[in-house]
């Protein structure tokens, strides 16, 4: 019977230090990989979900990230925070998934996203999901995930100016959509 694990359902204090976990995971320790999942899985899932707009895609992204993590850690230089590095990796994988075009046309608010969202939240989520991927990526990375324009631009492969312009357009669209009277 499979063990059911919810990320961040454990006390981080009970886990080894992130650097040690990364070292063990790099060496092939499945236990360390599980601990990293418990430690960072939920935050990474949020990034993936907000970028893909789909729980299923977000889980696919998280799956791919952790399946490839031991090998990816070979290139991790431990110069920055591990969680920041993981978030960048997750965002990159999510964007790659988006670019492949899978499920892009079907980005709808999924019923399981929130059991009973308030109407304003539902409208905002729908408005975000209705943005083109190019604009939504910038909104998620800059405004929600808190990356700088330089980091956002680097992850998206665009210039800083383009990042700023896209954010401005995205925010403008969101404002217009939310101001529009509902049906």
């Amino acid at each position: 019977m499979a063990t059911r694990v919810v990320p961040s359902a454990v006390d981080p204090a009970t886990l080894a230090a992130p650097a040690a976990l990364a070292q063990q995971a790099r060496a092939g320790s499945t236990g360390a990989l599980g601990d990293l999942y418990r430690l960072y899985g939920l935050a990474l899932f949020r990034v993936a979900y907000r970028l893909t707009g789909s729980r299923e895609d977000a889980e696919d992204v998280l799956h791919d990230v952790f399946v490839g993590l031991p090998e990816a850690l070979q290139g991790y230089k431990e110069q920055g925070r591990l969680d920041a590095w993981l978030r960048r990796v997750t965002a990159r994988v999510a964007l790659m998934k988006l670019r492949k075009g899978r499920r892009q046309a079907a980005l709808q608010l999924e019923p399981e996203a929130e059991p009973a969202p308030e109407r304003d939240v539902e409208e905002l989520q729908a408005a975000v999901n209705a943005l083109p991927v190019s604009l939504r990526s910038v909104v998620v990375l800059k405004e929600i995930e808190g990356y700088s324009h330089a980091e956002t631009a680097e992850m998206l492969g665009i210039t800083v100016v383009t990042s700023r312009v896209r954010l401005m357009r995205a925010m403008s669209r969101l404002r217009r959509t939310l101001q529009r009277p509902g049906p």
Binding site: R4, R92, E112, V121, V128, E143, G157
Partner: protein
Amino acid sequence: MNRDDMLRASLRQLPVPDVSPDLLHRIVRSRVMGVRTSLHGRRWSVPWGRIAAAAFILAFLTGSWKLSLTFSRMGQSRLNRDRVKEFLRTTIPWASSGDEGRALSDKPPAPKYPLISVDSLDLSRLTEGTWTYRSSVTTDEVLTAPAGHSRIHLARVTFQSRAMWILMMAHSRDSASWGPYGDTTYLDPESLRPQRSIYYYNKNRTVVVQSFSADSATESLDFSGPIRQSYRESIALPFSRETFFVNGWPLDRVGALLPAFPLKRGWQGSLYQVALVSRIGVRGVSPMDLWVVGRERVTVPAGTFDCWRLQVVTYFGQEDQRQTVWVSRDKGWVIKVQADNSSDVMSTRELESYEPGS
């Protein structure tokens, strides 16, 4: 907190669904089964904009190179060079042909009337000023269409430390936009014989330069651009130093100098026009005959004038061109010119305004 800040705050609070409880199990199972994913995939976007710009520049450079090569070959090929010459000869009116014009050594045809002597000119009647004319073309005596404007400027100047008259001409499609004077002739102040003349055509790609001494004339014609051609001729003037003559396009120049002519009822006179390489059919020296045929009152945009009516015949090789010129009796200005270009087309030029010189 403004609206954007509120929107940002709302965005950060957007809910995220729960992760499937068995996701870690799926991850571990994939690892155990040997599934591996690469997380270092770098995005390779196709820089279409840069590719398009590079393609455009390449196409432009290739096109320019091919075009220059084509022109170069046109100039190098004997056959094509002849074609180019033929093209210039048939389409550009000032490209002369030795076949059509008279040989330079030929004796010029005899004028119909006594040659106008420089001594007969009344230089005191010449005035500085700018005359603006409007042209029109009438087809089948019914359809009249505007054919641009021309401006003639006459003034006293100092050229090469000598006092001279300068005669300049410019043309315009509409009277609103005038280009620079592209046709300049310096005239001897005592005889009104041309001393030096420069005129530009074809967007300054074609330059004609004429130089005159008391006994000789030299003319060069240069086509610049991809097909460079140059012509140059010199002759000894076959008439005396006391004979008045004009260079190049005769009527415009004669018209500006008509105030000095001793016009009266029954007056007749002839003069020579000199164009060596720049006129079809006028290769060397050709006569021009003028005679007064009557008096008329003529109304043009510049006003109503009491005029002498002149008949002018200009000889171009085997052909002649007939024009009627109305000249104001008191001032000697050309008021109106009517040229019978063909049986169906009549071109007319009328004085539109006059501005006295400063």
